[in-house]
């Protein structure tokens, strides 16, 4: 298959998978003790797109995913949509900078955690703009505590997924899988 077609196919698959994860997460019951806390499953496809195809493709995946996810989830142009977009775009910006094409000091786990933190920050910022009250930042420590494990495991999953997407004939850019021992990945 032509490289360009293959790329288009893979990115379309990532958008579709991200959309499904986005909607699935919206269907999970909200934590009553901590509204806004979530697993960040959709970030998985962002990480894969970023590590395989770089920043430009990752932007496309995240923008299309939020749009389609909100459209199909029925939240388009509602408060949820704006919170969602702010979180996704802020998070993607920070992840692209911190990943820096695999040459940055962080593995996908670190990038994912940074993305989760950026997601929380930009979402709280957007919420502050929407409700005109600064007090909502009082949630931040709890959200951050939640972002650590979820961000870490999403990053770990992305690392493993990257391992099972084989690079053939140099058509793929092989992702950098720093920080996980090759023995663990070979199992």
């Amino acid at each position: 298959m032509e490289v360009k077609t293959r790329k288009l196919l893979h990115l379309s698959f990532l958008v579709a998978a991200g959309t499904a994860l986005h909607i699935f997460e919206g269907m999970l019951p909200a934590l009553s003790v901590l509204p806004g806390a979530k697993l960040g499953l959709a970030n998985l496809v962002n990480l894969i797109a970023l590590s395989f195809y770089g920043a430009g493709s990752a932007w496309w995946v995240v923008i299309l995913r939020v749009f389609l996810g909100s459209l199909l989830g029925g939240t388009l142009l509602t408060t949820t949509f704006f919170l969602s977009s702010a979180g996704a775009l802020g998070s993607m910006l920070v992840m692209i900078i911190s990943y820096s094409g695999g040459r940055g000091p962080f593995s996908l786990m670190g990038v994912s955690v940074l993305g989760a933190v950026a997601h929380n920050l930009s979402q709280l910022l957007m919420a502050t703009v929407l409700i005109q009250r600064l007090g909502i930042f009082f949630y931040l420590p709890y959200l951050l505590a939640f972002a650590l494990p979820t961000g870490y495991f999403v990053g770990l999953t992305a690392t493993y997924v990257g391992r099972y997407f084989p690079a053939k004939n140099g058509e793929w850019k092989k992702p950098v899988t720093k920080g996980v021992s090759s023995r663990a990945l070979n199992t």
Partner: protein, 130 residues
């Protein structure tokens, strides 16, 4: 886990604790109730409002309801009902209130005293995030 990852994890923990600690300090140093208003209503209509901090300790005010005068007292950023012409004295037994949202409600004399704060935290997000 690279060294960079560990730095990130550590930094997030520190940031979370710092914000948490800052909020704890702020709450202790200047309780939100300081800006709170004490609103007194009779028959559902607001008859008096005082900033909570202006109710001097020991000072007493009275308000007239259908049964007679209800007397309330201020004290160190809180307020309580000290006497009331009602039969059951539920309002007096309610004791001190100080936090935003708390209320003393005397049904027989139709007097309601409640604290309305400018507490920033009382409003949570009401939208489900996705």
């Amino acid at each position: 886990m690279t060294r960079g990852d560990k730095v990130v994890l550590g930094a997030v923990v520190v940031l979370a604790l710092a914000v948490f600690g800052y909020q704890g300090m702020r709450f202790r140093l200047m309780p939100p109730a300081q800006e709170a208003q004490v609103v007194v209503e009779v028959k559902g209509e607001v008859v008096e409002t005082h900033p909570l901090k202006d109710l001097k300790a020991g000072g007493q005010w009275q308000v007239k309801g259908p049964l007679g005068y209800s007397v309330y007292e201020g004290g160190d950023n809180r307020v309580r009902m000290v006497s009331s012409p009602c039969p059951d004295k539920v309002c007096v037994k309610r004791g001190w209130i100080s936090a935003s949202g708390e209320a003393i409600i005397c049904v027989p004399n139709q007097v309601v005293i409640h604290v309305e704060g400018h507490q920033e935290d009382e409003e949570g997000p009401d939208a489900l995030t996705q």
